[in-house]
């Protein structure tokens, strides 16, 4: 009996979907009902977004099919071409800006985090404990509280309303440094670094050739987290930018929403654009997450386990 139980636990933890000890049917169904309900809840807004993107303006506001089903007219193509040409194709520009800010800001933040995490983990530096405590403390400073003072500082340097006003502040990622420190401390053995040093490799060569390859999973995780944070950012670009040509997609769609709400009758077609624009804007990140699953799933646990 005991062995059968152990076997069942083993199997339950991922090696086979079948359990040797059958559960009572009710107990088997309840978790699935629970998960099924949640899947419906989490997918409903996305399903609605897709359905609404296929409707023309009349269908959107007085469609007979209801909000959660398709109309007779399937206008996704027409909506997309209107989206990409409206106001001189400003939407594509916003999408490109978002991509640029997210990649440059995210990659920059990740590189800084990897270097600093390695420095904290593998060097006995002067004042290490104090500065690391300071770093952890700053994880708790709400970043949006920095937006307005940063705006005032950058406007003194005439840097507001430029791409730098969005990119430079997003290089700051104290939590990323913390994650990299934790990961580096365990994943890169000191013996390996010492061996490389004995072989005559300099400190930077040791880092690039020996340590960096070991840090790849954590690098990708911190990169994903930083890219998502930059991609999602709203308050910072909203405060920094006034030139619509520099807007990322979040601020751009917010702008359209403001115009559509202010102009109740003529705003109808703009609502349609906001809907199809939202749909298009979620696609890149959803694809990135689905294709990089095995990295973020493991990597997200790094901080949680400590």
């Amino acid at each position: 009996m005991t062995t059968a139980r152990i076997d069942a636990t083993h199997r339950a933890r991922g090696r086979s979907p079948q359990r040797r000890v059958p559960l009572r049917p009710a107990r088997r169904i309840i978790p699935y009902l629970f998960l099924g309900t949640l899947v419906v809840y989490f997918l409903t807004p996305i399903w609605w977004l897709f359905v609404a993107s296929t409707k023309n303006v009349t269908g959107l506001f007085d469609g007979s099919a209801g909000a959660l089903w398709f109309d007779k007219t399937f206008a996704l193509g027409a909506n997309l071409s209107e989206l990409f040409t409206y106001d001189g194709g400003i939407y594509l520009r916003w999408l490109g800006n978002s991509l640029f800010y997210a990649l440059v800001g995210g990659l920059g933040a990740t590189v800084l985090a990897v270097l600093a995490g390695y420095g904290f983990a593998k060097y006995r530096i002067w004042g290490r404990n104090f500065f690391f405590a300071l770093l952890l403390g700053s994880v708790m400073v709400p970043l949006t509280a920095l937006v307005i003072p940063t705006f005032v500082l950058l406007s003194g340097l005439k840097l507001t309303d430029t791409i730098w006003a969005v990119i430079l502040p997003s290089l700051l990622n104290p939590f990323g440094v913390y994650l990299m420190q934790v990961y580096t401390a365990d994943a890169v053995p000191d013996e390996l670094l010492d061996a490389a040093r004995v072989d005559g490799a300099g400190e930077f060569r040791t880092f690039f050739r020996v340590a960096l390859p070991q840090l790849r999973p954590a690098f990708i995780t911190v990169m994903l987290l930083s890219v998502v944070a930059s991609w999602n950012n709203y308050f910072l670009p909203l405060a920094m930018l006034s030139n619509t040509n520099l807007f990322p997609i979040t601020v751009g769609l917010g702008l359209w929403q403001g115009q559509a709400s202010a102009n109740n009758s003529g705003g109808h077609s703009l609502w349609g654009l906001i809907i199809v624009g939202s749909l298009v804007s979620v696609i890149p990140l959803v694809i990135a997450f689905l294709s990089m699953q095995r990295y973020w799933r493991g990597g997200l646990a790094v901080g949680a386990l400590k």
Partner: protein
């Protein structure tokens, strides 16, 4: 383990690196300068975009600007104004209430999903895991826009559902429902992210513990609540801290939904919206800085006190 080296590297309780390796201290100390070279790029960004804005915000907050008086030194006057300003206080009160109600609900959902997903490993469970996590990949602006449409009395599905029964759907952004309406948006957006963090921690537990508990006759419920939950408590503390920081600086969702809420969400709805309005609608940067700085300090102290009372050896911030 299916998710590879990321977990196995950290699942050992070793803290060698963070204490500094013993024994080779002499040679490593000589490398202190090199260590600082690795940290320097981050340190520059840290000084420029964290220390400097905070210091400057504090400096700005000590002055006030009047039409007649010009800019004058006000000492802590702005803070005295803020903490007696009903608009600021109502925002603070709202985010505190919101945090107290939202965070337990959100954590209970994330924990329940993570425990179920840890216990069953069918194809459907893997699919459900991805779907629950999916909203994390969607910007909060888009999430708020979508829910704004779904709540809409003109073309949202809620009203259509109520039309079938000839009823009037509640407007979830109206004065009496806005709390729940916003809570739903935030749970939808973030529960999956928190779930993944707990789930990853659960997957990192050594399964031999479960076998031992089973031999001792533990039921699935006991296994979940007596063994799994205590073992992932540091993950729970971590997400609680994230949720607390996120909620107290609540901005994006109410700011986006403000326009479609017919005036329920006011320009002083949360402290951050109020600071934004003071800065960019009234050009009152001194007062806005005081609010930002006060908010930062309040959040910092709240989180620090919380961590102090929940700390345990070997966890975040100990």
């Amino acid at each position: 383990m299916s998710h590879g080296s990321a977990l196995s590297a950290t699942s050992q309780p070793s803290r060698t690196g963070s204490q500094g390796p013993a024994g080779r201290g002499g040679s490593l100390r000589r490398r202190s300068a090199t260590g600082w070279l690795f940290i320097a790029p981050f340190a520059v960004v840290y000084l420029l975009f964290l220390v400097a804005p905070l210091a400057y915000a504090f400096y700005l907050s000590l002055f006030s600007k009047g039409l007649a008086t010009g800019t004058i030194f006000a000492g802590l006057g702005n803070y005295a104004t803020a903490f007696t300003d009903p608009a600021f206080l109502s925002g603070v009160w709202f985010v505190l209430k919101f945090a107290v109600v939202l965070i337990p609900v959100q954590m209970a959902i994330s924990l329940a999903v993570a425990l179920v997903l840890d216990a069953i490993t069918t194809r459907f469970a893997r699919f459900a895991r991805l779907m629950v996590f999916l909203p994390y990949a969607i910007p909060a602006v888009i999430g708020a826009l979508m829910w704004g449409f779904l709540y809409s009395p003109t073309f949202g599905p809620l009203q259509q559902l109520f039309n079938v029964f000839g009823g009037q759907a509640p407007f979830l952004l109206g004065p009496s429902h806005v709390f729940g309406g916003l809570m739903n948006v935030v749970i939808w957006q973030w529960a999956g992210y928190y779930m993944i963090i707990i789930y990853a921690a659960l997957q990192g537990i050594d399964t031999s513990i479960y076998e031992a508990a089973r031999i001792d006759g533990a039921s699935s419920w006991q296994l979940a609540f007596r063994i799994k939950v205590p073992l992932v408590s540091s993950a729970l503390v971590l997400i609680l801290v994230f949720a607390l920081i996120g909620t107290l600086q609540f901005f994006t969702e109410p700011q986006i939904l403000r326009l479609v809420s017919n005036g329920t969400i006011t320009p002083e709805f949360t402290p951050n919206i109020y600071a934004y309005t003071q800065a960019f609608s009234y050009a009152n940067f001194n007062y806005a800085s005081a609010i930002s700085f006060a908010l930062g300090i309040v959040v910092f102290i709240a989180v620090y006190v919380f961590l102090f009372f929940t700390r345990k050896r070997g966890s975040f911030l100990s």
